[in-house]
């Protein structure tokens, strides 16, 4: 607990309480970064605020979101943030370019001109330095001892909130990684689909970003994509791995994988935020005009995530090798998909896919 300066006013106490509570209210790491940075800049009348996270394995500091900057990685011990990460001491500097510890490289990269700065450690409940908070360019030209005092109070809350957010993020990463590998093992049974699931997840999220879906919806879509073919585990090896064309009966068995996927996923407990996962995963073979399977849903009755995944799934199938044909070029696949807009595919989703496609593959002359 930082020592609170006796002269700090009651208003400031209330402010600290309010800000501390706000930090406490965000667990999603990007949102927390943004909240800490914007609140701290405002309170300290600064232009910018960056939050760095200590990566002890790599002996580096990284920052994900910093207003107007891209991701930056610095070695621990280098630059003022790096020095703070090592020492755990606050550093206040009136002109950064006069301080030999300051690393001008970052400014060179970003085109920013750092003048005054104040940096302090973010410490978790176990007393470990887990990050650095750095505030740049006070509007009055320099940071006061009051500013440092205020930062000390805020950073206690910021440190714990960051610790929680990192834990949550790590659990999410572990969860994703398990899903990803499980999906890859299913893909591996079906030799020509190696990497299929991961690509469908990528393409689906690419389309969803074009449609400006919320990060939470992307998360649901990603998890659904990882699991969409899991029902294949229930398909007999000799059907799943048969080279060449399937008989009608075998094709029916193959098609049953979406029902199996739904059956399996229906037994899972998906928390509030993930409730749509089974619905999306189970509907990725529905078609926009109602001619798909298993439920012959059409238009808006097909969850948006499934309409997105349908395009992603077909695009990946077309651009992958099969025993009986070579992979299509991306632009050929795009044109083939275009022919089924309105029948197989949702026109709005296709429009987003085309934007995503153009960003990724460029115009046809440069495939």
């Amino acid at each position: 607990m930082p020592k609170i300066n006796d002269r700090i006013s009651e208003d400031k106490f209330k402010l600290i309480l309010k800000v501390g509570q706000a930090f406490n209210s965000v667990i999603e790491i990007d949102r927390l970064f943004a909240l800490i940075a914007s609140t701290t800049s405002k309170l300290l009348e600064a232009e910018r605020c960056s939050i760095y996270v200590v990566d002890t394995e790599q002996n580096m500091l990284w920052t994900r979101a910093a207003q107007g900057e891209n991701r930056i990685v610095v070695p621990i011990g280098v630059g003022i943030a790096g020095v703070v990460a090592r020492s755990g001491e606050y550093v206040t500097v009136d002109d950064a370019y006069d301080d030999p510890r300051f690393n001008q490289e970052v400014d060179k990269e970003t085109g920013y001109r750092t003048k005054s700065l104040i940096a302090g450690p973010l410490i978790n409940n176990s007393g470990e330095i887990i990050g650095v908070i750095q505030v740049l360019n006070n509007s009055k030209g320099r940071f006061s001892t009051d500013d440092e005092q205020l930062l000390r109070s805020l950073s206690g809350f910021a440190g714990n909130a960051l610790d929680n957010a990192l834990l949550y993020d790590e659990l999410k990463k572990t969860f994703h990684s398990v899903l990803q590998v499980l999906a890859a093992t299913i893909d591996a049974k079906h030799h020509y689909t190696a990497g299929h699931t991961a690509r469908v997840a990528d393409y689906s999220c690419g389309i969803a970003r074009e449609m400006e879906l919320h990060e939470d919806e992307l998360e649901v879509l990603r998890v659904a994509a990882f699991l969409h073919d899991y029902g294949k585990i229930a398909i007999r090896d000799n059907v799943l791995t048969k080279p060449g064309k399937l008989s009608e009966e075998e094709y029916e068995e193959m098609k049953s994988h979406v029902v199996k996927t739904s059956e399996i996923l229906s037994k899972m407990h998906f928390s509030e935020g993930y409730k749509e996962v089974p619905l999306i995963a189970g509907a990725h073979h529905e078609k926009y005009d109602g001619s798909g399977y298993p439920a012959k849903l059409s238009n808006g009755d097909i969850p948006l995530g499934a309409r997105i995944m349908a395009v992603a799934d077909v695009f990946d199938a077309l651009t992958s090798d099969r025993d009986y044909r070579e992979a299509m070029k991306p632009h050929e696949a795009l044109e083939l998909i275009r022919k089924e807009v309105g029948t197989s595919f949702d026109p709005e989703v296709f429009a987003a896919f085309e934007n995503y496609f153009n960003r990724r593959y460029g115009p046809p002359s440069n495939p």
Copy 2:
């Protein structure tokens, strides 16, 4: 943000900051319940403090940890906590038995005698009532307006911390549920092992609890148990599902499932807390004397979790039906395992298993 009474002293502000920060530092729900309950009881000079969580789906309130009490479930709207959950208003009562809203049933169940109480809502950042904090029996006989004021300040932090902890808990549950179902689908391929993975997870955690392992270690063990047979996905169906005895070559293929498990898990990103999962899952067929597979590890070189899982795995195999024999009775299986203590099994783990076994199945006369 609750309005802070102007007369609250600076010391109290500091205390609130400190407590708020402490709440902020715990994400694991049971620990958070315990921390909020003990801190709040102390600060309000009360005997007890319970935290209730709103379950909107079930329209119930539940509490997991309350000092000296078991889990309690109450309908929203019933009892003082239920009334607070609905109204979002604070309730302060000098003698609960004089208040018609008070539900004496809980006291009857627990043998406790509630006198004074104060209860308030726990609210998340979106303004939703997600819980109720209830403080019982002030040492001076009644709660003052100062106490209520203090509770209002603390509960802001408690509400947000609870929100984070519930999110984390939900993500963990989703993760577990996915693992559990994936494990069950592997079990299902191998018809006589239906439910095997879940039972191995149960037995392993039962043994670990006897050994007083930390809740975090149990979590790792549970995840490792869910995944321990995942390598079976790479075993050919005709080997995996062959009725009767396997040929030597088939047996070798079958044994390779642990190597496959390790291979698959080595591709996963396990966060700091889960780092031991692949090591444990890949070593559950090692034997204490070094005669197991795949690495012929012995004694302490086998991770403790794997030594535990080895007993759990064999116990479940012996007590399950096979094509060529019926399931053994639990006590017969126990005696068979006892014969291999020091050779196949770690004596310390076996001692813990025996305690767990006795708790679960009772003496041989009552199998």
